[in-house]
């Protein structure tokens, strides 16, 4: 118990230190932009990891909620005339509502049927965004008004580095909190054995739905943050490939590991930036690295490495 608490504070402290130190070694604003992208992706992945790693329910359409968050802050101020911060809340609310409405029937499905249903949901949302160009600018995307909070215009890659870093810290804190609570235990229990969870009184459908809604809100907030940060948004953010990227971050980093999602995001977001020096070989190498790391670290980077260290420490 105490060890667990310490581990939680330690994780948060290390993360805070990393976020605080990086600016001293970053040579240009480009680095701030990439790092912010990592923080945002990690935030979405941590949410998805609550659904996939804790509650054991796969979602291949999670970018839909990312897209809803992103487009809410783009559309809200322009078409509805509401302030940016309200649009952010509206997006999170819409994502939660959608997850709540479709979650019950979808989460009754298991395994690959759940995968295709969530995938279908993601494709549908992305299609609506691409098609309703009067609102969304269609396939070309649309610009996003800068966020203004209490008269402070939040802009610049340096500012956004801190904002997204702060969001990630809060998101990490909440995800770590959840672990050792009745809710978190119910998630992990239904992951291991639904029937055993049921007979001790866990309302499996309710908790799956809770995990789905939490994950949707995380993704939505991450989407809004990215939209503000970039000042521009296009349908790719809601598309299937982005869903796959989020799942890959979660699995690559380690299912069920909060730190894993951050490490996974760092690897998968910075890798293509590094690989651009290889020009046309970029995708080839990206695919290769995903395959090789999944073969040799099948439970994910962080769980594999930490069990390796533990074994070393013991011997």
């Amino acid at each position: 118990m105490r060890a667990l608490m310490n581990q939680r504070f330690l994780t948060l402290a290390v993360l805070a230190v990393v976020i605080g130190i990086l600016p001293f070694v970053f040579p240009s604003s480009y680095y701030f932009r990439v790092a912010s992208l990592v923080w945002v992706s990690a935030l979405a992945a941590i949410g998805l990891n609550i659904l996939m790693g804790q509650a054991g329910q796969v979602s291949l359409g999670h970018a839909a909620f990312f897209g809803i968050g992103a487009y809410a802050v783009a559309i809200g101020p322009v078409h509805l005339g509401i302030p940016s911060w309200a649009a952010l809340l509206l997006g999170a609310g819409l994502s939660a509502l959608l997850a709540f409405l479709v979650g019950r029937p979808i989460l009754r499905l298991k395994g690959h049927y759940l995968a295709i249903a969530t995938l279908g949901l993601g494709v549908l949302v992305a299609l609506v965004i691409t098609t309703e160009s009067r609102w969304t600018g269609g396939p070309d995307g649309m610009p996003v008004e800068r966020l203004t909070l209490f008269g402070w215009r939040v802009s610049g890659s340096y500012t956004w580095y801190w904002v997204t870093g702060g969001l990630l810290l809060i998101g990490t804190w909440i995800a770590l909190n959840l672990d050792d609570t009745p809710t978190g235990r119910a998630f992990r229990a239904l992951h291991d054995s639904e029937v055993a969870a049921q007979v001790v009184g866990v309302d499996v459908a309710r908790f799956k739905l809770q995990a789905f809604v939490i994950a949707a809100v995380y993704a939505s907030l991450a989407g809004s943050a990215l939209a503000f940060m970039n000042g521009f948004i296009n349908p790719d953010q809601a598309g299937f490939l982005h869903s796959v990227e989020l799942v890959t971050i979660v699995v690559l980093g380690g299912l069920g590991s909060v730190v894993g999602s951050i490490v996974g995001a760092a690897v998968l977001i910075t890798l293509p930036q590094v690989l651009t020096v290889f020009h046309e070989y970029e995708h080839l190498l990206l695919g290769l690295i995903i395959i090789v790391s999944m073969i040799f670290m099948r439970s994910g980077i962080v769980p594999t490495l930490s069990s390796l260290f533990l074994r070393k420490a013991r011997s």
Partner: protein
């Protein structure tokens, strides 16, 4: 009537391609339990290799054969180098591996070939055939006929050859199959090779109608996966019916309702079907044993 027939034929044509991709999914899934998201890449390879081989002056039938062989080799390599080493990993880990393979193959195709759209000439000319007032592309008949031949051949193989029965036995129960002396690793390799060939054939048949490029695989994999699930995962008949159904839905949806939401109908119907029948149309209802 003519319009209806037009939609029907074009729906069946597209549906036949989805059916072949779904069949490839099913074959691999049954033999190994892996959902192979690189399935669409086999279709892409079938089209692209044929295009580039015939551009080098190779006659079309020979170019098609080369394409099928190349796809099969890639399928076998995928099994040997990526799936086999990860044996025993969780389902979601294996899915990520096949997604990685799909990214890799797409990247490879972009380097070896290019990023342009390519077309193959129709096998027997472009003059539409008039069928009760509907103008049908002759290539449609090639696609439908080709798909029928593949399905029939697969059926004969599975039901009437010893090797085919070994595949079915492996699908039914991998451990039991191994216990009666079936080399399940060979069966899995066979499934990857076979489903790569089926994908490539689909790609060759459909390229004269839909064009091809290095990145056509993703959407095809999605539709094929959807078709397989619609029919009920692991059921070959379900895969074919699911594929044809998906094609028809798209064609009629696009024709009568809205062409911009063509892709939406398929997924909307899948969601509705799964809500009503969580095991797909032909899937068996399994009772959880505890």
């Amino acid at each position: 009537m003519a319009e209806f027939l037009q939609f029907l034929i074009s729906g069946l044509t597209v549906g036949a391609v989805y059916a072949l991709v779904a069949l490839g999914f099913t074959l691999i899934y049954n033999a190994s339990g892996v959902v192979n998201f690189a399935q669409g890449e086999f279709v892409m390879l079938g089209g692209m290799v044929t295009v580039f081989a015939s551009a080098l002056g190779v006659p079309l039938p020979l170019a098609a054969l080369v394409a099928i062989v190349v796809a099969m080799v890639i399928g076998l390599l995928l099994h040997r180098l990526a799936i086999e080493p990860a044996r025993g990993a969780s389902a979601v880990t294996l899915i990520i591996i096949t997604i990685g393979a799909s990214i890799l193959l797409r990247g490879l195709a972009a380097i070896v070939f290019d990023k342009q759209f390519h077309k193959l000439p129709a096998f027997t000319g472009d003059t539409p055939v008039d069928l009760l007032g509907a103008a049908i592309q002759p290539q449609s008949f090639w696609v439908l006929g080709g798909a029928a031949v593949v399905v029939l051949a697969l059926y004969v193989f599975l039901e009437h050859t010893l090797l085919g029965k070994a595949v079915l036995a492996t699908a039914a129960n991998r451990l039991a199959a191994r216990l009666v002396g079936i080399n399940t690793t060979t069966i899995m390799a066979l499934a990857f090779g076979g489903s790569a060939a089926i994908g490539a054939i689909a790609g060759i048949l459909v390229t004269p109608i839909t064009l091809t490029s290095y990145d056509v695989g993703t959407l095809l994999a999605l539709k094929g996966f959807a078709a397989a699930m619609l029919g009920g995962m692991g059921n070959p008949v379900g895969a074919v019916v699911g594929g044809l159904l998906l094609g028809l839905l798209e064609a009629f949806g696009a024709g009568y309702l809205s062409s911009t939401y063509k892709d939406a109908f398929a997924f909307l119907v899948i969601l509705i079907v799964l809500f009503a029948a969580p095991q797909g149309l032909f899937g068996r209802r399994v009772v959880e044993r505890v």
